[in-house]
């Protein structure tokens, strides 16, 4: 009896051991992710959720490497004025009025089923992108395109109505599909035509048809043939479980040495709960983590737990966590707190030890003082650092008229019409654990200078809804709303549209049909400048920068913009978020390097195990 027990225990242990360890000797990689894409449709979707997964089996016309250098992907070369592919037209006054870009697709670029990638795919992609009946979440860049002219099967001109500074960048900034730029016509056209025919026949059911049969089409949910342009091809998708890819032999991008030395298979495994994901990493079931899933974790603790089994790496994410102030004079509560006066904002930022906040809630993050991210063209750190200085903060507040007249520890002032106003400020953020902690830390810091912070955490679906976020003028949020947004205006910000965040007058670059970017009743509460900050000089400079193709000339404009921002502080930047990834010992070339690369997944063709002969080039 005892013998049998022992034997079964040993067998169990053996099986557990076999099962628990995915082996590099099979040349595959298991990546862990917390966010699963809702579909694989190349046109639809928001910034981060899908991008990693799509990046494995789609390759765009260009891509950024881990040093932030732009390389041609599907294209033969990057269009520039020097090689004649970027042609600019000026009017008599010297204003740029038109821009034409010539692209040539590589002759050896094919879809994963062998079909060559041609201009017809491009034209089809653009047609779908501009279809009004489809829920394409943004047409900002595709709206800039006047037309696409086919030269031959591999070359085409994109003609822009107005200058597009990001004409060769990634993530849809060229104006084609959001993911991978070019979508396969031979796969998607039948779906598209059928859906459009049905929508025309029964327009009242349009939403269901589109959702069910376009977004829910077999190539979109993985039940049909899924082809991509990248180094790996799609194998299978078990929903809520994983997606599997396998290498395309002979892909035109490769790494030094034999192809067999690099990864043959990649599996992205979805585990929604971060704690469960971490335990899977610690158990060795997951060999690499993507850049989103470990948000808020302390890399030092992870490294201590993992020991020699894996490497923990931190990179900047391109997102800046910031405190957005309500600057609307229409919101009485915010106006009473004199948030419109820049001295108040400067006092608040100096009352907070941002270094301490960053180390506590987001280890690895770097304090930021700009709306651009480090590593971006034009970024400057030569601005006021707003170091932690509670005395300076108190002095500023006293200068505006706040004092603790009743000795209860909180500041009051008397308004112009004789009311006594307590410095009672509302702060709201999502229910993410690190933000709940941030709120509590900020409460303590502000208490020191006599500001009472009323903390509220709401689910993202409420906070980011139009009725809430865009109605600052109605006092829905009436002090500070904290969240992270892509940094600035640079060459490849994490979100191509982040350059609008602080602008008001968009007329110079008409990316939105409505003139003003500050959400007010007059423009239907549309726009992204949710703080209500209007600075004409900033708008002027922004318009100039977006038309300035020469980097050397653009930099001084950006520097001046940053100085204005840093002085006015419409938002108080807390820190640039860092991203922590883990990779099992021996995994090479799995690195993001800089925020400009957008994610880990820009170079799947180079990933491999050192044990199997892969060469580390990054």
């Amino acid at each position: 009896m005892k013998g049998r027990l022992l034997l079964s225990a040993m067998l169990m242990g053996l099986l557990v051991g076999i099962v628990a360890w995915a082996s590099p000797s099979l040349n595959n990689l298991v990546i862990g992710a917390t966010q699963e894409p809702s579909n694989l449709c190349p046109w639809e979707g928001s910034a981060d959720t899908k991008e990693n997964v799509m990046g494995i089996f789609y390759l765009g016309l260009t891509y950024y490497d881990s040093k932030g250098v732009l390389y041609p992907g599907l294209a033969t070369e990057i269009p520039t004025a020097e090689n004649g592919r970027l042609v600019a037209f000026y009017d008599t006054a010297g204003n740029l009025i038109r821009q034409e870009v010539l692209w040539t697709i590589r002759s050896d670029a094919t879809w994963s089923d062998g079909t060559p990638i041609t201009t017809d795919d491009v034209l089809f992609t653009y047609e779908v992108q501009q279809t009004p009946e489809l829920p394409i979440s943004t047409r900002t860049y595709s709206d800039l395109i006047k037309e696409i002219i086919k030269v031959d099967n591999k070359s085409f001109w994109i003609v822009y109505k107005t200058p597009n500074l990001f004409y060769a960048a990634v993530a849809g900034s060229i104006g084609l599909a959001r993911f991978g730029d070019i979508a396969p016509k031979h796969i998607w056209e039948p779906v598209y035509r059928q859906v459009m025919a049905q929508v025309k026949a029964t327009p009242e059911k349009a939403a269901e048809i589109v959702e069910g049969q376009f977004l829910g089409a077999p190539p979109s949910i993985g039940t049909g043939l899924v082809v991509g342009s990248g180094a790996f091809k799609f194998e299978e998708w078990q929903i809520n479980q994983f997606i599997r890819f396998s290498r395309r032999p002979g892909f035109f991008l490769g790494a030094p040495g034999a192809e067999a030395n690099y990864l043959k298979e990649i599996t992205v495994r979805f585990i929604v709960n971060q704690a469960t994901l971490i335990s899977a990493i610690l158990a060795g079931e997951i060999e690499a983590a993507d850049d989103i899933c470990l948000a808020g974790q302390d890399p030092a603790v992870l490294a201590a737990q993992l020991g020699d089994r894996a490497v923990v790496e931190t990179t900047a994410s391109g997102f800046i966590e910031k405190l957005n102030f309500n600057l609307f004079p229409q919101c009485a509560t915010a106006a009473d707190l004199l948030l419109g006066d820049k001295r108040t904002r400067q006092a608040i930022i100096q009352a907070i030890d941002r270094e301490d906040v960053a180390t506590t809630v987001y280890p690895g993050a770097i304090v930021s003082n700009s709306f651009m991210i480090r590593g971006d063209v034009g970024f400057t750190d030569d601005v006021n650092q707003w170091a932690y200085d509670p005395e300076a903060a108190k002095a500023l507040l006293a200068a505006i008229g706040w004092k603790d007249s009743d000795g209860d520890g909180w500041l009051e002032r008397v308004s112009a019409d004789g009311r006594t106003i307590e410095f009672d400020m509302h702060w709201v953020a999502t229910v993410a654990a690190f933000r709940i902690r941030t709120g509590e830390i900020l409460q303590e810091f502000l208490k020191e200078v006599g500001i009472k912070l009323e903390v509220e955490n709401l689910p993202g679906s409420v906070l980011f809804s139009t009725e809430y976020l865009n109605h600052g003028s109605d006092c829905t949020w009436r002090g500070i709303v904290e969240y992270a947004e892509a940094g600035g205006i640079g060459q490849a910000p994490a979100d191509p549209l982040s350059n609008e965040l602080y602008a008001n007058d968009l007329l110079a670059i008409p990316v939105t049909p409505l003139l003003e970017n500050v959400p007010l009743l007059a423009n239907g509460f549309g726009g992204t400048n949710i703080m209500g900050w209007i600075n004409n000089r900033f708008d002027e400079l922004r318009a100039q920068a977006l038309k300035e193709f020469s980097e050397a000339k653009r930099v001084p404009i950006l520097v001046e913009m940053q100085k204005i921002y840093n002085e006015e502080l419409p938002t108080a930047p807390l820190y640039e978020r860092s991203e922590t990834v883990t990779k099992a010992a021996g995994l090479v070339n799995y690195t993001k390097g800089t925020a400009v690369a957008r994610g880990q997944f820009w170079n799947a063709w180079e990933w491999g195990w050192a044990q199997n002969g892969a060469v580390a080039v990054r």
Binding site: A20, V30, T466, D495, P513
Partner: protein
């Protein structure tokens, strides 16, 4: 009896209708709609786009109009597509979530049932002994432990302290092939969640079984059987147990629906992709269709099982009259 049954069955439909109305109304009252999800990642999303899409999806109509449309479709079995998963909501839930919940809840129920009967019986037969005392204390503990705390502590012990001896959650490890490794992998992922989920029921049912058995043992006909000289074992199993089990069956029947909706805490802690978790996530991201179809399904299960339990009890115990 028949009239009672017919009346109960007929009541199912109005009940479902009322439930669906209440739930749809509550969900609709909640501000924020599916389009806001799209808006979140795209600062360039203009107000025009927003209004256009609202009209497109019919979200600009009042909720009772939308409810009527939903009802019309739902009766035909079409619950609409899911925003999160890009496929028909009903098919998704039935194919990917329901089996997982059934597996977890079913196994928990089975475990609780199989263990509580002998535990309760033995405890009752050996009343006032140390064994009885231990079982009673365990029962109290099981009923008082918060399930999610138990889950967290189990994860801590088995996944952290013992370095991944058992996985800390999730459903399966991908990329495994061969029936035995896959099967064993599933078992490994099930052990902790089932242990946590069944703890409450196990404790409750053991107590119930014990008190039910105690009641039966002291009844006259048992004494008579003993006086007649029947062997103790026969008395216990043929007579006492059979009668003592009946109330337990009713209790189990009434508790089954709880396992479906209440498993949400276990599913959250262990990241188990089941229906409870689907409802919670759907409510948070305003995926109406998933939320409604799961809620309706669970309500249906609850009503059906309550009815079944009542009927089973009525059949089993001839003393009950339901007129």
């Amino acid at each position: 009896m028949l009239t009672y049954l017919v009346r109960r069955v007929l009541l199912v439909f109005p009940t479902l209708f009322v439930i669906s109305l209440i739930m749809y109304g509550l969900l609709a009252l909640k501000p924020g709609d599916p389009i806001d999800e799209m808006r979140r990642g795209n600062p360039g999303f203009t107000q025009e786009d927003y209004l256009r899409l609202r009209k497109f999806y019919g979200l600009d109509r009042p909720w009772y109009v939308r409810y009527w449309r939903w009802l019309g479709q739902a009766i035909q079995g079409n619950f609409g597509p899911s925003r999160q998963f890009g496929r028909p909501a009903a098919a998704y839930i039935l194919q990917y979530r329901l089996p997982n919940t059934l597996l977890l809840s079913g196994l928990s129920l089975l475990l609780a049932f199989l263990v509580s009967i002998p535990a309760g019986v033995i405890s009752a037969l050996r009343q006032h002994t140390l064994l009885d005392y231990v079982v009673t204390v365990f029962n109290f503990v099981g009923v008082s432990l918060p399930i999610f705390w138990l889950g967290i502590m189990l994860i801590y012990i088995f996944a952290v302290v013992l370095h991944g001896f058992l996985p800390a959650g999730g459903f399966a490890t991908p990329g495994l092939s061969g029936t035995w490794p896959v099967f064993w992998d599933h078992i490994r992922h099930l052990i902790l969640p089932v242990a946590a989920l069944s703890s409450l029921q196990l404790a409750q049912w053991t107590r119930f079984m014990r008190s039910s058995m105690l009641e039966v043992i002291h009844l006259d006909y048992i004494t008579t059987a003993r006086a007649k000289g029947l062997p103790e074992r026969l008395i216990t199993y043929r007579h006492a147990l059979r009668n003592a089990i009946l109330p337990l069956i009713t209790l189990v029947g009434l508790n089954v629906p709880l396992l479906f909706s209440g498993a949400i805490l276990t599913e959250t802690v262990f990241n188990w992709p089941g229906m409870g978790r689907a409802i919670f996530d759907a409510i948070l991201v305003n995926d109406f269709n998933i939320a409604m179809v799961s809620l309706m399904f669970i309500s249906l299960l609850v009503i059906l099982f309550t009815l079944l339990a009542d009927v089973a009890y009525a059949i089993a115990d001839p003393r009950i009259r339901y007129d």
